[in-house]
């Protein structure tokens, strides 16, 4: 394999490109899955109660949704073609199995989202509230169906099942139900959808908190902050449970990944410790300066303090995942998860005391936690994807054997191009999103711009009571 003058080979560059484009992409669907559902809830509450504040919040978040969704679409198309451009051997070998899953994603989800998005964004005055709500619901359902299929495909790469291998070396389906509902899929789906809801709740909560810090009496921010904090209170503990179950499933089907996440280089026949922090040294094969709780690892993973646990010393070195990465990304995710749990509890306490809209330290905490969901999602994906290394299809197809037969300069040039374009485009996009969020929702809030100079929504703006 030819290398560039910097010494990277085409595989390193292709991996860097996938990691880079994927990391940018994942934050937008994580946000739009949650936000689409939130918009459906806001519109439903507006239709049921007739309260203007819900329509204002709907239009406010709809503008934000439009910008974020657009970025998700364009960065997603890159992903769907990257399998062919950079990972053609992988595409040839796995196409018969995961190709149909992705084709079903397009047919059942992408078209549904795209088909109803136009009406959702611009059609309220053309189709009326009820049909418009139907369109919003279709977009929300589309985002969830999309998560279903893409996580099924990803889970199959982690825990392949229901397959056979044909004469051309391709994976083929032996049992479609086993392919789709492969062992890690239900856990991954629940964990990811909850993560998307939490991520969105934290953003909505942070925006609400930002405006409450300036003015505690604004109706819109009060409603969104309260709704977001309910979500954090209820979903953060469920997510911790779901994550624990996902971890146990991983231990059953991908034990080596767990060794990487836990930093278990050594086997522990009499009960493994829980390493809280430390510096994993991949060369030496041990965690330096480890701060650990004896037998706690076995207690969490095996529900018995003395249960023996195998370490990476039982695994050939060429099959080791990069432990320093999985070890730290896992800790970042878990740490943020517990902070979210803490925010939910604090808000519940404050709600009970009747100070939800006045207690500034809570608002400040919620504001700081605004990006926490995105960071946790990224850390979680880094954990699961690098933990699968050095394989693309776990245990069956090596990453090194998956890439396109391309020269390093080709992959390097496209990587540089994507880095430049993504930073230029998505930086601007994030600035526009923050600019939209910096404005509080106003009475008579308009939806996404369509007809200039101003769009009339056909609804008389009413001045809301600031005290609701």
């Amino acid at each position: 394999m030819p290398t560039t003058s910097w010494g990277f080979d085409a595989i390193d560059l292709a991996r860097a490109q996938f990691a880079f484009t994927m990391s940018f992409h994942i934050v937008f669907p994580a946000f739009s899955i949650g936000l689409a559902s939130y918009l459906a809830v806001l519109e439903a509450r507006w239709l049921l109660t007739g309260r203007e504040v819900f329509l204002n919040l709907f239009n406010y978040w709809l503008k934000i949704f439009a910008v974020a969704f657009g970025m998700g679409v364009v960065s997603g198309i890159v992903m769907s073609y990257q399998f062919g451009t950079n990972w053609s051997v992988f595409a040839d070998k796995t196409g018969p199995v995961i190709g149909p899953l992705m084709a079903y994603e397009v047919l059942t989800a992408f078209f549904l989202e795209a088909g109803f998005l136009g009406v959702m964004l611009f059609g309220l005055d053309r189709v009326g509230p009820k049909l418009h709500f139907f369109a919003t619901a279709m977009v929300a359902i589309g985002t969830l169906i999309s998560a279903f299929w893409i996580l099924s495909a990803n889970s199959w790469m982690q825990t392949p099942a229901g397959y056979a291998v044909n004469a051309d070396g391709q994976f083929v389906a032996a049992d479609w139900l086993k392919v789709i509902f492969n062992p890690s899929f239900p856990y991954r789906l629940v964990h990811m959808v909850l993560a998307a809801y939490l991520t969105t709740a934290l953003v909505v909560g942070a925006v609400g908190a930002f405006h409450l810090l300036r003015d505690q009496h604004l109706a819109g921010p009060r409603v969104m902050f309260s709704m977001a904090m309910w979500m954090a209170t209820l979903v953060a503990p469920i997510q911790i449970l779901a994550g624990d179950q996902h971890g146990l499933n991983t231990l059953e089907h991908q034990p080596v990944k767990i060794m990487g996440m836990e930093g278990h280089y050594q086997s522990h026949p009499d009960g493994a410790p829980l390493i809280l922090f430390g510096l994993p040294d991949q060369q030496a094969g041990k965690v330096k300066y480890a701060l650990e709780i004896p037998r706690m690892g076995s207690l969490i993973l095996k529900h018995s303090p003395n249960a023996p646990m195998a370490g990476l010393d039982t695994v050939p070195r060429e099959d080791w995942p990069p432990v320093p990465i999985t070890f730290w990304s896992f800790r970042i995710m878990v740490g943020l998860g517990f902070l979210m749990f803490g925010l939910g509890l604090l808000s519940l306490w404050s709600r009970w005391r009747g100070t939800l809209f006045e207690w500034r330290p809570l608002h400040l905490f919620a504001l700081l936690m605004g990006p926490a969901g995105f960071i946790a999602v990224l850390a979680g994906w880094i954990t699961t994807e690098t933990g699968r290394q050095p394989f693309t299809v776990y245990g069956l197809l090596r990453t090194a054997d998956s890439a396109s037969p391309l020269a390093a300069p080709a992959v390097g040039s496209s990587l540089v191009a994507f880095v430049i374009v993504y930073f230029a485009v998505f930086t601007a996009g994030v600035i526009y999103l923050l600019r939209l969020m910096a404005q509080p929702p106003h009475p008579g809030e308009a939806g996404p711009p369509r007809e200039m100079p101003t769009r009339t929504a056909g609804i008389t703006p009413a001045i809301e009571s600031v005290k609701q």
Partner: protein
């Protein structure tokens, strides 16, 4: 075995259909982007953008179906063609990024000169050119060894692929101009009429040039079109192109609003059918047939169930979305 052959053919038509729907639907979206520099005022640009803003995302989804469907139904072809078309594909994706985000971003900037208008036009040009180049690169064939692409990363660059690239830019621009005639009114529509005349002749020249150049690429193309008795089957295509051209000239002369767009679609369909005639049954010309590239029967059958149920549904609600936003787009300044 005969069932497998039938399935591969069915899937070849499904993928061809998805790509065709993409080409004409995103074709007019990209076309208005290509024409954007000719409409410098903000009022015109707002109207032009609004004419496609509710539908562009659905249009682009057909591209994902074309690519994803190809990976699923013909993984070998996808695995060979994508590395072969590496640079045009990356360029297309980058073009589509700039074009796609511009729909929302251009409303979010302050100031008079809008750089997202530039991104919209530049992205549309780049994506259209790259798609046309990719088409030419496929037609001229790629170097395959075993199950892999075995050429270099600049093999796609030839005078022929540049010709197809420029041709597609012209074709999309014509579709875009015809779309503007359909969706706008007043001076904006008059200007679009005017552009239709120039672009129609440019497009006919492009179709003619590509049609003449293609048989020189491979002897098989020439045999397909010009040997007896194939001629009986192939001759109707150029004849139908001539008929569509006459109808288009009449529609433009009579200042019809909707006919130019639909006739432009017909012209695209005929050109596309011509490409199909040249390529069939190869999916990578002269190297890999649709049967060699096909997924196992159970993969194609599994997806066929979904396609049979979902594509009619998709066409239904897509048509509804177009119906909701039917009629002329009006600007706030008129």
């Amino acid at each position: 075995m005969s069932a497998a052959i039938d399935l591969a053919t069915i899937w070849a038509f499904i993928i061809a259909f998805a790509v065709f729907v993409y080409v004409v639907m995103d074709g007019f979206d990209l076309g208005i982007g290509i024409l954007f520099p000719l409409f410098p005022t903000k009022a015109d640009r707002d109207v032009i953008m609004n004419s496609v803003a509710p539908v562009w995302d659905g249009n682009e989804t057909w591209l994902v179906l074309g690519g994803g469907g190809m990976m699923a139904a013909f993984p070998l072809a996808y695995a060979v063609l994508m590395p072969a078309l590496y640079t045009p594909m990356i360029a297309m994706l980058i073009g589509l990024i700039f074009r796609g985000v511009a729909f929302e971003f251009r409303w979010r900037t302050q100031g008079t000169s809008n750089r997202w208008d530039l991104a919209f036009a530049g992205g549309s040009w780049l994506a259209a050119l790259a798609q046309g180049i990719a088409l030419g690169a496929i037609l001229q064939g790629v170097h395959v060894e075993g199950r892999h692409y075995a050429g270099g990363w600049w093999d796609w660059l030839t005078p022929f692929s540049i010709l197809t690239g420029v041709s597609l830019v012209i074709g999309y621009a014509f579709l875009g101009a015809a779309w503007l005639v359909l969706k706008t009114e007043g001076p904006l529509r008059d200007k679009a009429y005017h552009l239709c005349w120039y672009l129609l002749f440019a497009m006919l020249a492009a179709i003619g040039t590509v049609s003449i150049a293609t048989p020189f690429l491979h002897i098989q193309y020439a045999q397909r079109w010009f040997t007896w008795p194939n001629v009986i089957l192939t001759a109707p295509v150029p004849i139908a192109v001539a008929v569509a051209t006459v109808l288009l000239l009449r529609a433009l002369a009579n200042k019809q609003d909707s006919q130019p767009f639909y006739l432009a679609l017909a012209l695209f369909a005929l050109s596309y059918a011509g490409l199909g005639i040249s390529m069939y049954p190869y999916i990578v010309p002269q190297s890999i047939t649709i049967w060699q590239a096909a997924s196992p029967e159970n993969s194609q059958l599994f997806m066929l169930v979904g396609v049979a149920i979902l594509i009619p549904l998709i066409l239904g609600y897509t048509a509804w979305a177009y119906w909701v936003f039917r009629g002329k787009v009006r600007g706030g300044y008129h």
